[in-house]
Symmetry: C2
Subunit: 190 residues, 2 copies
């Protein structure tokens, strides 16, 4: 029986509310009410509302970065790496759907340091992603295609996966991964 620390409970509840209503429309009183305490009591566990968002966004961003790092270093051909990237997205999305749901938009509410770190991780991730796709092209694994647009397209789908998953939670994870790979990569493959 895993007992979350109060801090973690707060952060998780906040994630759920941020997802539903957005960071800005969620007050610390909303978060406190959900947990069953007064707003001011939250401050025994967190430093600020902003800190919650920061922790959420940077944790999930690091999950993606670390996953990318592993995949880059793995002894696989680029097409296999691409498939691994799909798995990475599916897994992180299923494990922390609320935090993942914040990625596309809520980063705008991060403040100076946090926003810098987040965007720098995101940019590096996209760069790595494109490189792997480019390697696929160079080594003849996929048809000639505009790399910019293709990577944009695949990443768009993967980023929105959380919304699809929230409507189809019954789906088998392995199956989902396979279908995603078929859908996103097979169309490109030679």
């Amino acid at each position: 029986m895993s007992k979350l620390s109060k801090r973690q409970e707060i952060i998780q509840q906040a994630a759920s509310l941020f997802r539903k209503r957005g960071y800005s429309s969620t007050s610390v009183r909303d978060i406190a009410r959900e947990i069953g305490m007064e707003a001011s009591s939250l401050y025994n566990h967190i430093r600020s509302k902003q800190e919650i968002l920061n922790e959420l966004m940077l944790n999930v961003a690091h999950s993606f970065s670390n996953g990318m790092q592993s995949i880059k270093e793995a002894p696989l051909n680029p097409l296999q790496k691409l498939e691994r990237l799909v798995s990475l997205h599916v897994n992180i999305t299923i494990n922390e759907p609320d935090a993942v749901a914040l990625i596309p938009n809520e980063w705008i509410h991060l403040e100076t340091q946090g926003i810098q770190d987040f965007l720098s991780l995101r940019d590096q991730y996209e760069k790595d992603f494109k490189q792997i796709l480019q390697d696929c092209l160079d080594q003849g694994f996929i048809k000639p295609v505009n790399i910019e647009l293709a990577s944009f397209s695949i990443l768009s789908t993967l980023r929105w996966l959380y919304s699809w998953y929230s409507k189809n939670q019954n789906v088998n994870v392995i199956e989902l991964e396979e279908e995603m790979k078929k859908c996103l990569i097979q169309g490109l493959a030679k």
Copy 2:
């Protein structure tokens, strides 16, 4: 020299701010400052902040619905209709990028009537989209593929097109359309 009505100027500026900071983090005073008047003066032109969001979101939603209606009725085969849908998204995105950028997330801030209308338009649109993809499959225009996932994937890319466009505004529209079609449809085509 097209002179926008004050009301339209307000709504356009609001769209730009809503996009940058989100509906909730944009105050009516922010909007007023951008236009160069006092917050209270806005109310000579609009009924409420909510009305602005409502008009923005439902206008753009109707643009998509109307476009879909035309395409459905056009004397084309389903694959051609799919291509037309890509054009539709590219064109609306380029014409009103700010309003389009609000679609994925800001609808959560619509209120009772508006949110109902918006979601009903969106659901119908997705249903029509899937049907056209299904027709492609039934008539043998595309490879066998999970329709749910394929339409989700294509729509994800088209929904996020605005963010890609904001970074690549120099691109030729016709070229963009062609590349999108190649990227999204050609992978599926038999």
